[in-house]
Symmetry: D2
Subunit: 375 residues, 4 copies
Amino acid sequence: MVIPTQANTSPGVALIGTGFMGKCHAMAWNNVGTVYGVPRPRLEILCDATEDAAHSHAAAFGFARASTDWKAALRDPAVDVVSIATPNGLHRPMAEAALEAGKHVWLEKPMALTLADAEAMAGLALSCPGQVTLLGYNYLRSPAFRAAQALIASGQIGTLRTFRGVYDEDYSADPALPWSWRMTRQGGGLGALGDLGCHLVSQMVALMGPVAELTAMTQIAVTERPSPDGPRAVENEDSAMALIRFGSGTQGSFATSRVARGRKCRLQWEVHGSEGTIVFDQENMNELWVHRTGEAGFTRHLSGPGQPEFAAFCPAPGHNFGFNEMKVVEAHDLLVAIGGGLNTGPDFVEGLAIERIIHAMAASDGRPVALGADK
Amino acid sequence: MVIPTQANTSPGVALIGTGFMGKCHAMAWNNVGTVYGVPRPRLEILCDATEDAAHSHAAAFGFARASTDWKAALRDPAVDVVSIATPNGLHRPMAEAALEAGKHVWLEKPMALTLADAEAMAGLALSCPGQVTLLGYNYLRSPAFRAAQALIASGQIGTLRTFRGVYDEDYSADPALPWSWRMTRQGGGLGALGDLGCHLVSQMVALMGPVAELTAMTQIAVTERPSPDGPRAVENEDSAMALIRFGSGTQGSFATSRVARGRKCRLQWEVHGSEGTIVFDQENMNELWVHRTGEAGFTRHLSGPGQPEFAAFCPAPGHNFGFNEMKVVEAHDLLVAIGGGLNTGPDFVEGLAIERIIHAMAASDGRPVALGADK
Amino acid sequence: MVIPTQANTSPGVALIGTGFMGKCHAMAWNNVGTVYGVPRPRLEILCDATEDAAHSHAAAFGFARASTDWKAALRDPAVDVVSIATPNGLHRPMAEAALEAGKHVWLEKPMALTLADAEAMAGLALSCPGQVTLLGYNYLRSPAFRAAQALIASGQIGTLRTFRGVYDEDYSADPALPWSWRMTRQGGGLGALGDLGCHLVSQMVALMGPVAELTAMTQIAVTERPSPDGPRAVENEDSAMALIRFGSGTQGSFATSRVARGRKCRLQWEVHGSEGTIVFDQENMNELWVHRTGEAGFTRHLSGPGQPEFAAFCPAPGHNFGFNEMKVVEAHDLLVAIGGGLNTGPDFVEGLAIERIIHAMAASDGRPVALGADK
Amino acid sequence: MVIPTQANTSPGVALIGTGFMGKCHAMAWNNVGTVYGVPRPRLEILCDATEDAAHSHAAAFGFARASTDWKAALRDPAVDVVSIATPNGLHRPMAEAALEAGKHVWLEKPMALTLADAEAMAGLALSCPGQVTLLGYNYLRSPAFRAAQALIASGQIGTLRTFRGVYDEDYSADPALPWSWRMTRQGGGLGALGDLGCHLVSQMVALMGPVAELTAMTQIAVTERPSPDGPRAVENEDSAMALIRFGSGTQGSFATSRVARGRKCRLQWEVHGSEGTIVFDQENMNELWVHRTGEAGFTRHLSGPGQPEFAAFCPAPGHNFGFNEMKVVEAHDLLVAIGGGLNTGPDFVEGLAIERIIHAMAASDGRPVALGADK
């Protein structure tokens, strides 16, 4: 007996962008139904720059239609939610157009290139209360990170005392790497702070609460890079370091670098509490290292089905959760919010708070900057 | 401009089973097009035990039709390839029916419960030369495992000398775990050898070549388990250990356990060569530890886009590859073979060789057993 | 044929203190000859508080005489060098008396409780140019630390860019730990900064050069502790964090805590260079993790006889060097300096620079403090 | 007030050998009093091959007299205990002469080159019941190893099920390493089994009890090596592997290699119990990894003063214990036995049992060999 499956009433999706993160969104949209046992979203329109690219990507990514016209796509009546995974300079116009078209928006980070852009976007989102906005801070959604949050929330490490975090990669470490528009303020924003640092801020704030004040130093390690026109100046941050005072009164240290040789995705932090310590490193994203009072040392908590985000994918502990799967969790969180559930965020307003922190770091130059989250 | 995507001429799929591995196959079928940029397979029929379950799973897994009749499904003309992810006792009848219906077969391991079953299945597969058979030895397909194979093939660790491997989990470690049919020879086959050991054999043979002779000891650590009818005997292996002589003349040690407290997916091995050593542990599946002559020590090779299987998913190193993604690689390998390319296997004939090794281990009782792969 | 060994013309030693570090000095004095193949020092006088303790310790520690009068001991004509391993408040009077008696001085860290004391001591040392002063910054002398210095000096990690360091322990983490004089400014000095932080400063300066400016925050995590007279206030730092600008123009982050649950001797740092990164953690003091351009990842450099400090103790790599053995290296360095060789320090003048840094951290309160090492 | 220390009535020591292990004995004899707070042993005679070497080593090692005549030295009335750290072929004559002279004997491993030698030595030791014999199996004496024994003895990991152990180094991995007498049966005994394997056996038996039966395979990986006379054959084992059945009915696997590239002191084992697992690796000798039922994963037990062997050296956890310090523990154990306390061994009789096991491994050639320890 063969039964035709029913008409799909789940949300219709348009995806703009097919690069690293566009493909990641496509995998998430294809898998979220399978993983969570919910009706598969309707993959309506895939936007790419040329007809050929749009066509071939749509066929592979499982989208019904291909388009080169993103403005039309996000106004399409079959589309309920727009995935935006384009270069950062396009984030603001696309997100604003999608909101103005009445759609939900799933936008990759960083939210925007300038603080003014982010403020405008948050303002518009506030004026569209029925529409969900979600920023692609995927590292918030790993099973291990959420397990860390749950450990803290349950009081198992006591009163929080200190945060120490770094996010280091080495993609710009080579001085021979040619100059590009990504190394300008206008094209690449805050450099390592905007590319990597904002991820660490998203986790730091999720763990420790809002920031009251910070003092930061930044560095351009490779000041000039080769270009066809001769050496050109690098304008944005290769690395940054900060001291943080949280609104709760606790303290933190923060560092990020895109020139840290040998580091590939070292989003690493530790939280000290009065009754324990938690340590995490994204390069080993399936491990949380936890010590609690009375335990003999640090224990490796290997991700497994006791963690809800893991359980959705696999019933077997130690069977590694992957980077791309965080995006599936994010897609599911988005579907829950679209369906009227809690938006676990960061939405555009929460995203603006993240932007304020990294812009304050870029501007500090060794002097304290108040962020206003004092108790 | 919106362009409708073209008619899909890619293979039609039927999937039987929606449990742990059935869902894993579904994720693979949904993602293989997106990941590899090939046309998305047609997901035709999803088979489950009841109409409701078939229906809801088909909707979530993205299949066009739902069915409770696997025999009809695998004869369906729209179906080209059958995914079988059912209890082990059903492997032989389903695989044979699919082959007899002219379909390609993707079958979960272990191939069968008895050596006679595996022999019959391999014989039938040999008589269907145009049909692809592939067994679900997914651990062969991780980026790190393939990188290890490539390192060996390139001669970077010299002449192979020794293999040392274990595969340990703890899912049966608790003596209070109730008795089940999985603990019988008839229902559960060779216990830890059939469930875990065959995976390690698949990697061992892929790295070291065929086995000439082995000597093994097995153990039932928990001899009786509680059941509603009182304690019942456990019939199959909780653990096994073996010494291996390979056809090449090199030596190996082998061990597996389902009662190793604290181990979750410790498929761990090392290969010693005249010029280097490679070490791997599936619990940290994105790392290969390599030492080569002249290097200062062991180096952590973190998976990244230099490994082709990784590159298909993500351009950024250190962004962890996940367990489920190995199955996407497997689906792609299957599509390549269906399309006329090389079948990287293990097909049913190679699977039979794996079965012969684990059955020899189960039967050895401390005495040498010849496998016939001498030079 | 039995030959009496010759008269010992090596330096005569007086040791004051038999606690943790006093015993450590005694082990060093007993072993330095054996390890380095130099004539065994004459162990002349062991000073302890009571006659019985002095006697039993002298017998066990191999000293010829026992004494309760440290003032007489350090004036004894048979004594050439004085080991001072007493509570911090006694460091200044004992060191000054030893210098005034014309002896060489080996003094445990921290140098003194106040900056004024340290300045006076450095001034006196400068006025005794023929007498060696050496501070017990033993972590400078591990084989791995010296190997890190050699890697940097050889240019193998290129131009230095960033330092990140922490030194965490948990000996004061328990809020139920009773109040003691160690938690006062007058008795315990700068708390975690004086006890732990100064060690990290000693390594930081040895790796990166002098500090130009720093900004720090400190914290008393447990503000009151139980005493027989009721709760009493803790006066000195439980933890501190700082941003550092080095005279060379590079940047650094610094943190220390005595309330970091689960940390036992986590003196951990990393140095980023233009061509590589070095990572160290004293809890695994026999490992240096190094990545250099062109290498596949981080490599574990396990200590071995390729490192001169290791070779003195053992010809076999991977045979772990221990904490106490760093003190033997220190004793040998001291003997070399006494014999007219280079004093590798830190002597009292270099120790004063360390004290200035930790006192600046204690005083910063979030504001930049200049240390004067600008280029 | 200065008090001369009393006459030393502690045992008088003669040491024969000043190489790797001779120096290690010398460090132990110099430090055992300091560490344990017992009267310093009298270091009477140091024996070396030439007068000059004897003289200079005696001065550095703190011995009163130097000698080139070991036969006279071990008969000297001031000598109570003889440390023998000479090439293996001298072990039997020296140990027998020392026993015949009525002295206690501390002998480096392996006990002897042949089983017949070991049997003769054990027989003689049995006939000297008042004289202590102790073999230098120093790895039995690390704080972590003893903590593992205590965990097992306390029942914290339940009933033992399985042992898995390896001891790998790479000192013979290079095929260009010249031939030497160490590679002959007569000069070098059982190769890797005698040099490394016996250490692993000593730990295996200490953890699991006596061996009932074993099956082993051995390998000469580099069959010929260069010599001034052209290539010469290597006669003894480069590596070995074995399956073990213990008298208790539990099972074990065993492997050792001197040609394992990159391994420096990988004496690594794990013990599986019904309620937990313990893992150890000598390259990180200050760590024990323990999982017990109910714990979230494996916990790192970093050595510290909770372990009695550690506490003798240092009151601060995480301050690494070193390789040479195991020998100090051994010296103390010997002094305790000489003083009439328990001899924790292995004495010569227990050492013979170890020799029987490695000789059985060398002779097995893939066939079971009974060792006679069945229940």
